[in-house]
């Protein structure tokens, strides 16, 4: 087990990177605490897999150092890093039995055969693979195969962290939940550092204590699922997390208020204070579930046109037109629906201000 530090890591797949656009990872500085369950969330191509491969040692970063428990491992190959990695598609040695698959990493490290037997049975027990031990790995279902891939990581007693690269992609939906539960169990039992790459926010939010959101080669925010939801540090986080994503409308500032198309929207004290020094492209952001929709004119309400109502079962999604801006609001099932005209208010404590895509305050 280990604490993994990424010290000013940058990586480019090109031999002579010119500008920052040539980098798949742009100066990552982050620490993965020992025993944490992390999810690495981001769209395809944001550098998640690159980051994972740098941690496991499959890639050597162009710049920066990586440390395990303070020891520099930047130049160590993966087999000497005590790391396990589970890939998107189950990787098996399909001519071997399940037992031999699980024993493979130990035998490669010349572990004593009685110890191999003990470890394999222990891990097979945790992963419910015991009945399959004598079978050929090739004939099993995708979820069992993925458990074997995971098992090959767990058998090594010295393993520092387990990295998952979208491991549930090929698993049937009804088994996904089960397998995710299993991963959680394994984590609670063994207290290993788990880093889980996904582009599925639900997977990330249910699996991890800490979610790291990546965007275009940078970590834009690291925090608990709640923090990501309530105070997105970057426009991308607001947009990527939550369904539907956060509403953004361009605004200007005047004192403690934001102005949108001549309407004024109050900001809370903290945001207003920080806003004084904000510059660049200003936008207001608010989660659809925090936007208040009224059927009649209210104090400070901004008139909007209701364009579309989508019933999602336990809630409704309203698409609203505020002159040239589109807003979405999420209303509970029992909330009364406005007519074609409605008025919206922005609760100050849930209204965020973004300057050049980053949160102000």
């Amino acid at each position: 087990m280990a604490r993994i530090e990424m010290n000013q890591i940058a990586h480019s797949y090109m031999e002579k990177p010119q500008g920052s656009d040539d980098y798949a990872l742009k100066r990552i500085h982050h620490t993965w605490e020992d025993g944490g369950a992390y999810a690495l969330l981001g769209p395809s191509g944001c550098g998640k897999t690159t980051m994972l491969n740098i941690i496991s040692g499959l890639l050597r970063p162009s710049e920066g150092r990586i440390l395990y428990d303070g020891k520099d491992v930047t130049d160590l190959p993966p087999e000497r890093r005590n790391i396990a990695q589970v890939f998107q598609f189950p990787v098996l040695y399909d001519t071997m039995s399940v037992f031999n698959n699980l024993a493979f990493p130990l035998r490669n490290r010349k572990v004593d055969e009685t110890e191999v037997k003990r470890r394999v049975h222990e891990v097979a027990d945790i992963l419910d693979l015991t009945p399959y031990l004598k079978k050929k790995a090739a004939g099993l279902t995708a979820d069992a195969k993925q458990k074997i891939s995971l098992g090959r990581g767990l058998v090594r007693s010295d393993v520092a962290a387990i990295l998952f690269d979208e491991p549930l992609t090929v698993i049937d939906p009804h088994l996904k939940w089960q397998l995710r539960r299993k991963l959680k169990d394994v984590h609670e039992q063994l207290r290993l550092t788990l880093i889980y790459v996904t582009h599925d926010q639900i997977e990330a939010l249910t699996f991890a204590d800490q979610v790291i959101v990546m965007y275009e080669g940078e970590i834009v925010q690291a925090g608990t699922p709640q923090e990501l939801f309530e105070t997105p540090k970057h426009k991308f986080v607001g947009y990527f997390i939550g369904s539907p994503g956060m509403n953004f409308i361009p605004c200007t500032l005047s004192g403690n208020e934001a102005r949108v198309n001549g309407f004024s929207i109050p900001l809370d004290q903290k945001t207003a204070d920080a806003a004084a020094s904000a510059s660049g492209n200003l936008e207001l952001g608010i989660r659809p579930m925090f936007l208040k929709v009224h059927g009649e004119s209210v104090e400070g309400g901004i008139p909007v046109t209701v364009k579309l109502v989508q019933d999602q079962g336990s809630f409704k999604i309203l698409t609203l037109q505020l002159e040239n801006h589109t807003l979405q609001a999420r209303l509970p099932e029992e909330h009364s629906l406005p007519g074609e005209r409605a008025w919206v208010t922005f609760p100050a404590d849930q209204t965020k201000l973004f300057a050049d895509e980053r949160l102000v305050g």
């Binding site: 496991s56 990787v91 493979f104 490669n108 004598k134 079978k135």
Partner: protein
């Protein structure tokens, strides 16, 4: 269900029947026809039953040719399969080297077979051949027209040079189809290069290697043009393979009956061994499953 409508479907497979009939069944049946008759001339023929088959099976020269043929095919497979896999493993996986090595390696496959024989005749000639003259001037008397051993050595070199590229290309295609994640997992599992080959590359190449093995077995078992041009079956009968002997019987002596019987037996041997190889390779390492 209406039976009449079902029967109509036969018209749809009729074209295939016709093509297969003309391409395989009718030619094969004419051979069967010859194999059971003694033909003296147009209109003069007698039904002789399995007489030709008996004669052919008791022909000691054919026995010799058959063992020679097995030795040849056996050597071909033993040399070309490992060598082809080895070459494939050494070939570059990316960059400009890929196309360069592919083209270089495929060159022998592009040469007409009788030209290959001619090339090697000249190459090994003791007086002017690059190889023949060089080795003779080094003090080793090498002449494939005089020594059966030298004829075999020359033949094997020619065969390996000509056909190993096919095995290499197929094996290379198999290697390139292995997803990168397998290699990454193997590295993380601490697998040695040998273990990676044994447990990832070799099993993943099973399909293409089966094809390579079958192609190499059939082609080498049916080999004709190259040894015919290079040695003409000699010196003596030392490189007279089945097909060379068959042509001698059929065209040289015009014994159509025995030649037809011989062809059918030849065909059945190839079929039998191809089937055995296929079954063996499909089942290798599947013993424990389920």
């Amino acid at each position: 269900m209406n039976k009449w409508e079902d029967n109509k479907a036969w018209f749809l497979v009729l074209p295939v029947f016709i093509v297969v009939a003309f391409s395989a069944i009718i030619p094969l049946m004419t051979v069967v026809n010859y194999s059971v008759q003694d033909i003296f001339g147009p209109g003069q023929r007698y039904f002789v039953g399995v007489e030709w088959f008996k004669e052919v099976l008791n022909d000691s020269r054919l026995h010799d040719a058959l063992w020679r043929q097995f030795l040849f095919s056996g050597l071909v497979l033993l040399i070309e399969m490992p060598l082809g896999i080895g070459i494939a493993l050494l070939m570059p996986k990316k960059g400009w080297g890929v196309s360069a090595s592919l083209v270089t390696i495929a060159l022998p496959l592009l040469i007409p077979w009788n030209v290959i024989g001619t090339i090697w005749i000249i190459f090994t000639r003791p007086d002017i051949g690059l190889f023949g003259a060089a080795i003779n001037s080094a003090g080793i008397a090498f002449d494939h027209t005089a020594s059966p051993l030298h004829a075999w050595i020359t033949l094997m070199f020619m065969e390996v040079w000509h056909w190993t590229p096919l095995v290499a290309l197929l094996a290379y295609a198999g290697l390139m189809a292995i997803p990168e994640a397998y290699y990454q997992a193997a590295r993380i599992d601490g697998a040695s290069a040998w273990a990676t080959f044994r447990y990832i590359q070799l099993p993943k190449m099973r399909g293409v290697l089966t094809i390579a093995l079958l192609l190499r077995f059939m082609d080498s078992f049916l080999i004709y043009a190259e040894p015919f041009v290079l040695t003409g079956g000699g010196p003596g009968n030392s490189t007279t393979f089945l097909s060379i002997y068959l042509v001698k019987v059929a065209v040289g002596q015009f014994d159509l009956g025995p030649a037809a019987a011989f062809s059918l037996i030849y065909f059945l041997i190839v079929l039998l061994f191809s089937w055995l190889f296929y079954q063996a390779l499909q089942n290798v390492g599947k013993g424990e499953e389920r």
